[in-house]
Symmetry: C2
DNA sequence: TAATTACGCTACTCGTTAGTAGCGTAACCC
DNA sequence: GGGTTACGCTACTAACGAGTAGCGTAATTA
């Protein structure tokens, strides 16, 4: 199970298991993963920053991997995947996703992706969870925006074949920038990716 | 210094310091970094796989970081940056770089990039070396190919402004694929990136 | 041969981190 | 109140990994 150790007991007696603490712990775990690589995030760190005892963490999750898996699971889908922004043009829709506050906005989102990537290298279970619960849904958001632009005639139907690969350009360039430069990408970088790569790649033969 | 501890002594006496061992050790270090994240590569691993004693490693490099820095330094420039392939079209030139045997060919090159990225998160010195000696020169190779295509009239001169960002698409998509999928990218993926993203992005208004 | 230095080996120190044990106290049910 | 369970705390174990010490041996120069 990705989730907690101890399912809430129906015939409760004694001090109740305080589930409301979980959210704070998982948030702090993600914060730390946004700051440092997986191997440099210790459970002592998590305990210190949450103000909880390390034993309290282990009462909820059996291992560090389980804690991180639960944290990943707590992320949830990007809001845009449920309610795709419709601002009238593909360009503004893409920018809306770029500017989305999902996972704390562009900067923290990127830093977190980086931390999750390092976690993925440490465990096959985590790698699977990151792909299924973060990378995939985020890519899906872009794919849907592109497909919808075709549906409403903003793009030629011939571009449908390119959608899967072009949709990955923004996430790919974001993380690449993190490696290639020594600072998080600014907004004008994303604007350039959209205006100089994504949109042109979908408009050949139109002008 | 990025390089070895002990400079070869001019007034040599006694058993000579065998510099020829360095290359093997650095190669094995890169091999291991292509397999696992930085924190999971131990000097005991390096010693075991090289067949050398751990003390022999420490006689050459003072710390693990120094060893990895030397390994990075040993990589050298991609051959294409010195002698850019000229196969008549931008498309074939790009594919030549994709297929280049630099760093052991596409698969190992990608795996190594991934390991170097993890190493970069562990130390600011390593991060700088990776950027300066690997990421930057590799990006530069693509930038030159694109610029040359403009120079020879294959692309419109108006595309010059896009060169820096479009040149990063191939490296970015490569590493992204490594995260998004659970296997290294196949050649047809790179072909698709070139045909569906890079070239179209540089040909708007031409058709 | 003697002197000198590199190498490989075994065994260590020391710091760090995952995970655990035990206890006093807090919060809940009856 | 009494019973029961969660929490926080301190302290621990066990493993692992960077880096070191010491010794016997190999390779070289004089």
């Amino acid at each position: 199970m990705t989730d907690s150790n101890r399912p809430p007991d129906a015939t409760q007696v004694g001090r109740p298991f305080d589930r409301s603490r979980d959210a704070l712990i998982l948030d702090v775990t993600l914060d730390l993963l946004a700051e440092r690589a997986y191997d440099r995030v210790t459970l002592d760190d998590v305990a210190a920053r949450t103000g909880k005892a390390k034993t309290t963490l282990y009462r909820r999750w059996a291992t560090k991997d389980d804690l991180v898996l639960a944290a990943i699971h707590s992320i949830g889908l990007p809001p845009e995947i449920e309610q795709l922004p419709d601002l009238g043009s593909l360009r503004s829709d893409l920018l809306a996703v770029v500017d989305s506050p999902w996972l704390g906005g562009p900067d923290r989102r990127l830093a977190l992706f980086s931390g999750l990537t390092s976690a993925a290298r440490a465990s096959e279970r985590i790698a699977g969870a990151v792909r299924a619960e973060v990378t995939e849904p985020y890519g899906e958001t872009y794919r849907r925006l592109l497909t919808r632009a075709i549906d409403r005639g903003e793009l030629s139907a011939e571009m449908a074949a390119r959608v899967p690969i072009v949709a990955d350009v923004i996430p790919a360039m974001s993380t690449h920038y993190l490696t290639a430069a020594d600072r998080p990408a600014q907004r004008d970088f994303f604007v350039a990716v959209i205006d100089d790569v994504v949109l042109p790649a979908l408009q050949v033969g139109r002008g």
